[in-house]
C-alpha cells in the first residue's frame, strides 16, 4: 500500500471522527468519546504508517514541502487531541480541533509534496527536532482549543444560557486542567525542539537565536512558561489564563509560518542543495 492511499484512508477516518464530534451534540448514540477515539486513533495509526513509509523510502527526507508540513501538522494535532481526549474525555473538543485536522489533511493531499532533499545525511538531531517542534505546535493549538471552550463555557455560565453546547461542554475546572496539561507538554516539546535546533545550528555554524522564526519561537516559549509559572503561584488562572493561552497560540501560528513558509518551501533550508523528491 502506498503512503498516499494510507493518507486517504486516514483522511476518511478523520472525517468520520469529525462527523461524530459534531453530530454528538444532537445524536444520542454519538454522545460518547469512544467514537472519536476510535476514528481518530485509527486515522492517526494510518497517518503514522504513511509518514513512516515515506521516511523509510527517503532517509534524507526533510519534511519541508507544503504538503508534508500540512500532513505533519495534522498528525501532531490529531495526536494532541487524542492525548487531550484520553486525559479529560472532553468530547466537545473534537468539534473544534478535528475540522482543522481534516482541512490540513486535505491540504496535505492537494499541496505540492515535492520537498527539498539535500542528498546528504541529515544531522541526527533533525528527526527529534522536527518531531518535537510539530508536537509542540499540536499541543499548544490543542491548549488553545481548550481555552476557547473554557471561555465559551464561562460565557454560557455567566449569561445563564443552558443550551445544548452548555450541556455538552465539560466543567470549567476540567477544561482548565486540560489547557494546563497541554501547555506543559507543549512547552516540554518546544524546549526539546529549541535545544536540538540550537545544536544543529552550532554544528552547521549558522546563526540561530536571533533569526525571526527563532524570536517568535522564544516568545512563544516564554509566554507558555510565564503561564505555567503564573499558574503555579496561583496568580494566573481562569479567563486570564485562557486569554494568555490564546495569545500564545497566536505566536505559535507566527512561529509556524515563519519556520515553514508555505509559499517558499525551500526557504527553510535555503542554504542546502535542492533535489526534488516525492513523499
Amino acid at each position: 500500500m502506498s503512503p498516499e492511499l494510507l493518507s486517504i484512508a486516514a483522511l476518511v477516518c478523520f472525517i468520520a471522527g469529525t462527523t461524530a464530534a459534531i453530530a454528538g451534540f444532537r445524536v444520542e448514540m454519538l454522545r460518547t468519546s469512544a467514537w472519536q477515539f476510535g476514528f481518530v486513533g485509527l486515522g492517526l495509526l494510518l497517518k503514522t504508517a504513511a509518514i513512516g513509509m515515506t521516511c523509510a523510502h527517503s532517509p534524507t527526507h526533510f519534511f519541508n514541502s507544503p504538503g508534508e508540513i500540512a500532513a505533519l501538522l495534522a498528525w501532531s494535532l490529531a495526536f494532541s487531541f487524542l492525548v487531550a481526549l484520553a486525559s479529560s474525555s472532553a468530547r466537545s473538543l473534537g468539534a473544534l480541533i478535528l475540522p482543522f485536522v481534516v482541512v490540513l489533511m486535505i491540504l496535505s493531499l492537494v499541496l505540492s509534496r515535492e520537498g527539498v532533499d539535500h542528498g546528504m545525511s541529515p544531522s541526527r538531531y533533525l528527526a527529534p527536532h522536527i518531531l518535537a517542534a510539530f508536537l509542540g505546535y499540536g499541543l499548544f493549538l490543542t491548549a488553545c482549543g481548550a481555552s476557547v471552550l473554557y471561555l465559551e463555557q464561562t460565557r454560557l455560565l455567566k449569561r445563564k444560557m443552558f443550551n445544548v453546547i452548555f450541556r455538552d461542554l465539560p466543567s470549567l475546572e476540567r477544561l482548565e486542567r486540560l489547557e494546563i496539561l497541554c501547555a506543559w507538554l507543549g512547552l516540554a516539546a518546544f524546549t526539546v525542539a529549541i535545544a536540538t535546533g540550537a545544536i544543529m545550528a552550532n554544528e552547521l555554524n549558522r546563526p540561530f537565536w536571533l533569526q525571526p522564526k527563532m524570536i517568535a519561537t522564544e516568545l512563544t516559549w516564554l509566554i507558555f512558561a510565564a503561564l505555567l509559572v503564573g499558574r503555579a503561584v496561583r496568580r494566573l488562572n481562569g479567563r486570564s489564563a485562557a486569554k494568555f493561552v490564546l495569545a500564545g497560540a497566536a505566536l505559535v501560528l507566527c512561529t509556524f509560518l515563519l519556520s515553514h513558509p508555505f509559499a517558499r518551501p525551500q526557504a527553510a533550508t535555503a542554504n542546502v542543495p535542492a533535489k526534488g523528491r516525492s513523499a
Partner: protein, 484 residues
C-alpha cells in the same frame, strides 16, 4: 384450565394521575400486609398475583382463572374488603387493564415512564420488591415471572438511554448539575445559609453527589443546629460569613430574609483567600438573598437562582418526555411480543401434550404385545408400523391446531383437543391469536421426548420440545430475540 393470557392477565390500580394521596394512602399495603393480601387475591379465583404499593400507586397484578366470572370485580371487592373502604369511594380513580394493555402498563411503570418524575430510579426497586414478595409467598406463576422479568430487562434498557440518565428533572438535580459545570462536586464543601424546606432536598442531592462537608449557617442558632443534625452537617456562625465563603465551594442560600444576605463585597473579600477557586452560589430564596450583580464584578463567582434551576429541570423533563415518547411504542411492541410468546406456548403445549399422550399410548400397547418370540426385524417393523399409525392419526388434529392458530382460534382448538384426548394442560396454557406462523415451525422442528428417537418421528407428528424459556435458570431475562 386457566384463561387465555389475553384475558387472564389483569391489573387493577390507582396512581398519582387520578387518585389523590388521601385515597392512595387508604389503599396502600404495608410489607406486613402482603402475605395475607396475596392469599386473599389468590383465593378469589386467581392463579397468580403481585401487589405493587408505592407512594404514587397501588396496583394489583393478577392472572385470573377461567372460572372467575369478573376478575376486575373480584379485585375491586378485595381492595374494598381488605382496606375496609367502600368500593364507590375509589372506583372512579381506578384503572382496569387486561392482557396487552396490562403488560404494556407494567413495562411502562417499571421503566418509570408512568412516574411523576420520568426516569426516576426508585420504581424499579419497588417493582422488584413486589415481584420478590409475590415469589416468596408462592403467588407468582409462569405468566407473572415472565412479565416481570421482561419489564426489568426493558427498564434497564430505557435507563441506559442517555436522554434519561443525562437530563435533570428536579430542582435538586439541576443544582448538582450546575455545580458540576464548574467543578467536580465530589469532595467539595457546602455552606447552607438559611434552613428553608427546599434546601433539604438540594443538600441531600449534593450529599449523594459526594460533597465532603456541609456547614449550616442561620440567624437562629437552634435552627442551624437542627438542620445540621437532620442533614448531617455542622452548624456555624452567620457572623463569620466571609470566612465560610472563603472556605467552601458551593453556597446554598435558602433564607427568609427580605434583603440580600450575600453581597459583592463579601465575595470579593472571600475571593482574595480562595486562590482562584470557583465559587458556585445557588440562591433558592424568594425574594433573592444573593446579589445578582456578583458574577459581573467577581470573575470566578457564579450565581444561580430558583428560576435558573427550574429552567434546567424543565428542559430535563422535556428531554425525558421525548425519551418516553420514543420508548412507549417499543414497550407496546414488547408487550405484544411477550403475549404472543406466551400464547404460542399455549397451543404448543396442547400439541406437545397430544404427541406425548399418543407416544405413551403406543409404548403401552407395544409393551402389552408379547414380542419375545418375534425376530428382531419383525419387532422393529411392528414398532415402525405403530409409529406410522400414530403419525397418521395425529396428523389431522395437529393440522387443525396449526390452522386454528393461524386463524386466531388457537385457544378454542387447544381446549377442544385437550378435552377430546383428555389432556391436562399446564395452568399457563393460553390461546394463540396471531402466533400461527411460529407454531408450524415449533411443531415440525421440535425435538422428541427422550423415550422416542427423533429419527422415527414423522414431520408434523414429532413430539414438541418444551418452548425456550423467556427467563433463564439464573433468573436473567433472555435477549429479546429469544422471546419472539
Amino acid at each position: 384450565m386457566s384463561e387465555p393470557v389475553e384475558d387472564a392477565l389483569r391489573i387493577v390500580g390507582l396512581s398519582h394521575h387520578k387518585a389523590p394521596v388521601s385515597l392512595r394512602e387508604k389503599l396502600a399495603f404495608t410489607p406486613h400486609d402482603l402475605r395475607s393480601a396475596l392469599g386473599s387475591v389468590l383465593a378469589r379465583g386467581f392463579n397468580e398475583a403481585a401487589i405493587l404499593s408505592t407512594c404514587n400507586r397501588v396496583e394489583v397484578i393478577a392472572v385470573a382463572r377461567s372460572q372467575t366470572a369478573d376478575p376486575f370485580q373480584e379485585i375491586r371487592k378485595f381492595l374494598s374488603e381488605f382496606h375496609q373502604v367502600p368500593e364507590q369511594e375509589f372506583t372512579p380513580a381506578l384503572y382496569q387493564l387486561k392482557g396487552l394493555e396490562a403488560a404494556r402498563h407494567l413495562f411502562e411503570v417499571t421503566a418509570s415512564l408512568d412516574s411523576q418524575i420520568l426516569g426516576e430510579t426508585e420504581i424499579l426497586a419497588q417493582s422488584k420488591e413486589a415481584y420478590r414478595a409475590a415469589a416468596e409467598h408462592q403467588a407468582c406463576g409462569p405468566v407473572l415471572h415472565k412479565v416481570f422479568e421482561r419489564s426489568f430487562f426493558l427498564s434497564k434498557e430505557v435507563r441506559s438511554d442517555g436522554g434519561i440518565s443525562r437530563s435533570q428533572a428536579s430542582v435538586s438535580s439541576a443544582a448538582v448539575a450546575l455545580a458540576n459545570k464548574l467543578f467536580d462536586v465530589k469532595g467539595r464543601k457546602v455552606l447552607v445559609v438559611g434552613t428553608g424546606e427546599m434546601a433539604s432536598g438540594i443538600v441531600r442531592a449534593l450529599r449523594s453527589a459526594g460533597v465532603s462537608e456541609i456547614l449550616v449557617a442561620s440567624r437562629t442558632e437552634e435552627r442551624a443546629k437542627e438542620f445540621a443534625a437532620r442533614e448531617g452537617g455542622r452548624p456555624c456562625l452567620m457572623q463569620n460569613l466571609t470566612d465560610h465563603l472563603a472556605y467552601v465551594d458551593i453556597v446554598l442560600v435558602s433564607s427568609a430574609a427580605p434583603h440580600y444576605v450575600i453581597l459583592p463585597e463579601h465575595i470579593k473579600t472571600a475571593m482574595a483567600h480562595r486562590r482562584g477557586r470557583y465559587l458556585c452560589l445557588i440562591d433558592i430564596s424568594v425574594p433573592r438573598n444573593v446579589d445578582p450583580l456578583i458574577p459581573d464584578v467577581v470573575e470566578d463567582a457564579y450565581v444561580y437562582d430558583i428560576d435558573d434551576l427550574e429552567e434546567i429541570a424543565r428542559e430535563g423533563r422535556r428531554e425525558r418526555e421525548l425519551v418516553a415518547q420514543r420508548w412507549r411504542p417499543r414497550l407496546a411492541e414488547e408487550a405484544r411480543e411477550l403475549l404472543h410468546a406466551l400464547q404460542d406456548q399455549g397451543v404448543h403445549d396442547a400439541a406437545r401434550k397430544l404427541i406425548a399422550h399418543a407416544a405413551a399410548q403406543r409404548q403401552e400397547i407395544l409393551s402389552q404385545i408379547n414380542t419375545s418370540n418375534m425376530d428382531p426385524r419383525a419387532r422393529e417393523e411392528l414398532a415402525r408400523a405403530m409409529e406410522r399409525l400414530q403419525g397418521r392419526l395425529l396428523h389431522g388434529p395437529l393440522e387443525m391446531l396449526k390452522q386454528a392458530a393461524r386463524e386466531g382460534e388457537g385457544s378454542d382448538a387447544a381446549a377442544w383437543v385437550s378435552r377430546l384426548f383428555k389432556l391436562e394442560l399446564d395452568p399457563k396454557v393460553i390461546n394463540d391469536k396471531d402466533g400461527a406462523a411460529s407454531i408450524d415451525k415449533k411443531i415440525e422442528c421440535s425435538a422428541p421426548p427422550p423415550e422416542i428417537p427423533a429419527s422415527k418421528l414423522r414431520a408434523g407428528a414429532g413430539e414438541a420440545r418444551p418452548p425456550r424459556p423467556l427467563i433463564s435458570d439464573s433468573g436473567e431475562s433472555t435477549p429479546r430475540q429469544a422471546t419472539s
